[in-house]
């Protein structure tokens, strides 16, 4: 098996699982790029869900979040698959 290469991603974190699910719902409805991942421990030690997309999508997603008034905690740049 060959894993895809690590590329820079934007990772959005949330204060609650409900907020992460709300993000996924809105993104799916509007075909916004990305997917839910377990939050990398380099961002938050512990548990939780995050929204991960290619870094080039960051500004689009931030704009989308603002438009839809989606609650999120922070956004990070991380190299992931």
């Amino acid at each position: 098996m060959a894993l895809s290469k690590k590329t820079e991603k934007c990772v959005f974190t949330f204060e609650s699982t409900a907020d992460a699910m709300n993000m996924e719902k809105h993104c799916k409805e509007c075909a916004i790029a990305g997917r839910i991942i377990p939050v990398p421990t380099s961002i938050t030690a512990g548990c939780g869900l995050a929204w991960c997309a290619d870094i080039i999508e960051k500004e689009n997603i931030l704009k989308f979040i603002e438009e839809k008034a989606i609650k999120y905690e922070g956004v990070y740049s991380v190299f992931l698959r």
């Binding site: 894993l3 377990p38 990398p40 030690a45």
Partner: protein
């Protein structure tokens, strides 16, 4: 999909559980809310479930079997309803936040002093270390039976004997053991046994409860409708209503009852043996991979069917995500709501990838998981993760 997250919730349930929930949804009114046929369908089933659960744990009868949403709620009821202001409480580093957070809250408020017993290098708690912490003010010992991170099992019989000797109440969190291990409340001197329905008892989410020793008083956690003594200003004193304000999850409890009956028919010893076989097969398959680290005590297989691992220094969230996306294998990464276990093993930053098994898992699934870990180990060797 291969499901190895049974410590979080069991995914595969017996067919009888699905059927019982569906039937209950079609036929149940509110238990204790009227004497009509629909209400009585619910009331009879819930009463049967109380009796069955009490027998299952050698508890103190239907009236001392209280239903809650889950083990967390049961533990909160047991801890907050029992603890005395100014007293001392003993717990262990193996606990889940459902025990730690209520106790830390009480400690931070200045209501209690708290001793947290540490395990040995593999995280095993020695009951003698619990006894060492007992003092004149100790009013409670709270511990889990099996750790949700490592699968380590505590000797609750010895802890129960110590509690009996010092006349200290003993609360047991059986979230990870009920349905796999015989638990005898009387033999183990347990004052309150807290359980959840949706894990190894094979019931639906939203079910759980506590079995209380006869005469052991717990203050009500909530107040509200009880179906009896409606003109009384406060919650009725009688059990189980004292601890059960509001309509119960009758539909879920019907499923839980079916789950427990399935376990009784299958044989709890047979479930334990099957889980042990599956977990051991996985453990044996991955333990010699160069970069795989396994956490917990595996010197005996009298333990929970949980194997927590890491591959090198790779983030557990990354490994768990690859297992999901590339291999369709469900595991749990991170801290598993048990922060002190991770402090013990120095995995606070990396987390642990937890594989937790069910007797419904197959050898084929285990082989696929071992192959996946082998591949990830190879990729790690090549620096490709």
């Amino acid at each position: 999909m291969i499901y190895f997250d049974n410590s979080a919730t069991s995914l595969v349930k017996p067919e009888s559980v699905y059927a019982a929930v569906l039937d209950a949804m079609k036929t149940f009114g509110g238990s204790g809310r009227g004497a009509h046929n629909a209400a009585m369908n619910a009331a009879r089933c819930i009463f049967e479930a109380r009796e069955e659960i009490s027998l299952f744990f050698n508890g103190y009868g239907a009236n001392n079997t209280v239903f809650t949403q889950n083990a967390t709620e049961a533990l909160n009821i047991a801890i907050f309803g029992t603890v005395k202001k100014g007293s001392h409480v003993i717990t262990t580093e193996n606990e889940h936040n459902s025990v730690l957070r209520p106790l830390f809250y009480l400690e931070d408020k200045g209501d209690i002093t708290l001793s947290v017993v540490n395990g040995n290098k593999n995280g095993v708690i020695d009951p003698k270390d619990v006894e060492k912490e007992i003092n004149d003010k100790t009013s409670l010992v709270v511990c889990n039976h099996v750790s949700n991170v490592t699968g380590n099992k505590i000797d609750i019989f010895s802890v129960g004997e110590i509690c009996k000797k010092h006349s200290v109440p003993f609360i047991v969190d059986a979230s990870q053991s009920a349905g796999v291990f015989h638990i005898d409340m009387r033999k183990n001197n347990i004052s309150v046994l807290c359980f959840t329905g949706h894990k190894s008892l094979l019931g639906p989410q939203g079910t759980g409860g506590l079995c209380v020793k006869d005469g052991f008083y717990i203050d009500p956690f909530k107040q509200g409708g009880s179906g009896v003594q409606s003109f009384k200003r406060t919650q009725p004193e009688n059990m189980p209503e004292r601890l059960e304000a509001g309509t119960l999850n009758g539909h879920g409890i019907a499923g839980l009852l079916a789950g427990i009956r399935y376990i009784k028919n299958y044989g709890i010893g047979n479930i334990f043996e099957k889980e042990k076989h599956i977990a051991k097969m996985f453990y044996d398959g991955v333990k010699d991979f160069k970069n795989v680290k396994i956490y917990g005590d595996f010197s005996s297989w009298d333990r929970g069917a949980v194997v927590g691992i890491n591959i090198g220094d790779i983030d557990s969230a990354v490994i768990s995500d690859i297992l999901n996306t590339e291999f369709d294998i469900c595991t749990r990464a991170g801290a598993h709501c048990a922060p002190l276990v991770h402090k013990h093993f120095n995995t606070e930053n990396q987390g642990i990838v937890r594989f937790s098994f069910s007797h419904f898992n197959t050898e084929y699934e285990i082989k696929k998981a071992i192959d996946a870990i082998y591949e990830l180990n190879e990729l790690y060797e090549k620096g490709e993760i």
